[in-house]
């Protein structure tokens, strides 16, 4: 029983990190209707950036976010303008190919500079833990969760309390109509992509502390992230967060109770089950011609 509880707690804490990474992904979809399959690679890129700052200058990984998040944001804006904006027709299909190509390119560059050796960011809080009842919770998970709450909170605030946030929401709802009322959808798109990248940087830091990673680590990440955003409803931020928490808890409990072998499988089974009854995901909107 303790084990299940422990797994559930772990699921919630790691779910927060996945929620952060997935939030960027779903926002990008909502605004630009593109599936960024390179998101996993961007998380890894963020992890490497923090790794470099930590290894060469001794900067604490969470502190390094002050640098990596803005850098990734700007990089995101540039990538969007150069590679995504030119796509005029067949957006969804081509965007998958473009973002996949970007992911490969990033993997190649990272491999060139860092080789394929596994690296990991270490800090005192990746093994230090505090006891809760019968088990221990490692500090890094708590810090990561708090980080996610902070960033997600900031994003929610921006979306619902600022004019720019309203512009984003309008673009997500109906791009053409948004243009008609004078919103610069191109700018909105670029900034949203930048925000997505910045959240990837944050997710990357926690990922980089809790996992050994190398340039090839992005494949496993992206399959989970995509599943999460579909489950939550493409474009729904709330959905992504809840889906991430639910999925990680179910996965972690399955891993300890039944078998780790089926834990990953359960991920997709839940997706299939939900989509059978709600093809638009938990919080997705059923728009006439798009799901």
């Amino acid at each position: 029983m303790t084990l299940i509880l422990e797994a559930a707690v772990l699921g919630v804490l790691t779910g927060g990190v996945y929620a952060l990474m997935a939030s960027g992904l779903t926002l990008i979809f909502g605004v630009m209707r593109i599936i960024n399959v390179g998101h996993g690679a961007l998380v890894i890129l963020g992890a490497y950036l923090s790794f470099v700052l930590w290894r060469n200058m001794g900067v604490d990984p969470f502190v390094s976010l002050i640098v990596t998040m803005p850098v990734m944001f700007i990089l995101g804006v540039i990538l969007q303008i150069v590679f995504v904006r030119p796509l005029k027709t067949d957006r969804e299909a081509l965007s998958v190919l473009v973002t996949y190509a970007l992911a490969l390119g990033i993997e190649g560059l990272l491999g060139y500079f860092f080789t394929s050796n596994y690296v990991q960011i270490t800090a005192w809080y990746d093994t230090a833990s505090f006891p809760v009842g019968d088990f221990h919770i490692t500090y890094v998970y708590v810090y990561g969760f708090l980080l996610c709450l902070a960033i997600l909170g900031a994003i929610f605030l921006m979306l619902y309390r600022t004019t720019f946030g309203a512009a984003i929401r309008a673009t997500m709802l109906n791009r053409t109509a948004a243009q008609l009322v004078g919103i610069d959808v191109d700018r909105v798109s670029a900034v949203t992509f930048g925000i997505g990248m910045a959240t990837a940087a944050a997710g990357g830091v926690v990922f980089g502390i809790t996992n050994a990673f190398n340039p090839g680590s992005h494949y496993d990440l992206i399959s989970r992230l995509l599943t999460i955003i579909v489950l939550g409803g493409l474009g729904s931020l709330r959905g992504a967060v809840i889906a991430a928490l639910v999925m990680l808890v179910i996965q972690d409990i399955t891993a300890v109770v039944i078998s780790p072998v089926w834990a990953a499988f359960v991920f997709f089974v839940v997706l299939v089950a939900v989509l059978l009854f709600r093809p638009q995901g938990l919080f997705g909107i059923t728009v006439r011609d798009r799901v």
Binding site: E92, A93, L94, A101
Partner: protein, 333 residues
């Protein structure tokens, strides 16, 4: 009238030349290095053509086709193991069975997946692919899990080994082309294209969209499954992560886009260009680790400069030139 006959003669002649070349290849270049590239290239010609039947004609982009490829591979391998078939030519007779089994799987997957549209469909196909990969990895008593599944060894020697496989892949590629071409010319194909343009309108005019989409999906998957079977037999050992491999899935998509989505010959051209290029790049540049960067650069250039694909872009270029020529002869603007 004369021009039409000329066109038909040229087209027929071109076809004969192409198929002739393909048939004669092992005689022209019999060394195993070349025939190996030929086997993989022909494999992708078939894969791209098959994928195009679904993705190109209906507009439903499946990124999970690697799942069917892997399933076909495992289906054939398990069949051979259960029936204790020894290596040799008889193995090829079982390939259609693998195709049939894949078709059944596609029917089930398709029934579910096609309830969704557009982006959700894409991600659902990805999810199914990973589910198949996980099943292959975890049903160890059936598939061998991470240790892989072995195929019987035909014990052909030296350079000869690749040749039967080349012809098997060629046969499947030709089958895919014939199927693709006949669909394109049929009412069924018309219905598919209508679905691609506007599904709701197509439904409104009476196109049985559900049935049509499912059929295209099944046909496409069955072909891919058969090719997967021959692939497994060729490389002699298959593993879940290498045969249900997202890279295979995305490669066939890229080839179709490069050549021209929805055209009959576009996928062929895309495969003929990309597969030898990919193998060559990996061989020569992998060691310097820049292989991935180069590949991704090629990828991006293709997509950004020629989003329609080569054939339609060429077509447009020629049409524009013709229009310009006609314009200079005709009335002034």
């Amino acid at each position: 009238m004369k021009r039409a006959t000329n066109t038909r003669v040229l087209t027929a002649g071109g076809l004969v030349l192409l198929v002739g070349l393909a048939l004669a290849l092992p005689a022209i270049a019999p060394d195993s290095a070349t025939t190996n590239i030929a086997v993989f290239t022909m494999m992708y010609v078939g894969l791209a053509t098959a994928w195009n039947i679904m993705g190109g004609y209906t507009g439903y982009i499946s990124l999970g086709h690697a799942g069917f490829f892997g399933f076909g591979s495992y289906a054939l391998g398990l069949l051979l193991a259960r029936l204790a078939i020894a290596g040799g030519y008889t193995v090829f007779l079982f390939v259609p069975v693998a195709g049939l089994l894949t078709a059944l799987l596609a029917a089930a997957v398709g029934w579910f997946a096609l309830r969704t549209r557009a982006a959700t469909f894409v991600i659902v196909t990805i999810a199914f692919m990973f589910m198949l990969q996980l099943l292959a990895e975890n049903l160890t008593s059936l598939t061998g899990g991470g240790a892989g599944l072995g195929f019987p060894n035909p014990r052909w020697r030296g350079d000869f080994y690749n040749i039967p496989f080349y012809y098997a892949m060629l046969a499947l590629a030709l089958l895919a082309l014939v199927v693709s071409w006949s669909i394109r010319r049929s009412k069924f194909g018309l219905g598919l294209l209508a679905i691609r343009d506007d599904e709701d309108k197509a439904l409104a005019v009476g196109v049985p969209a559900g049935a049509f989409k499912l059929t295209a999906f099944i046909v496409s998957a069955a072909l891919v499954g058969m090719i997967g079977g021959v692939y497994g037999y060729y490389v002699t050992y298959i593993y879940p992560q290498f045969v249900v491999d997202p890279l295979i899935g995305i490669s066939m998509v890229l080839m179709v886009f490069l050549g021209g989505l929805g055209t009959v010959w576009g996928p062929v051209l895309g495969a003929l260009i990309l597969e030898p290029a990919q193998l060559w790049l990996a061989y020569n540049y992998g060691a310097s680790r820049l292989y991935l960067v180069l590949y991704s650069a090629v990828f991006l250039l293709v997509i950004l400069l020629m989003p329609q694909g080569i054939l339609p872009s060429l077509g447009e270029l020629i049409a524009r030139r013709r229009a310009r020529l006609a314009g200079t002869v005709g009335a002034a603007p």
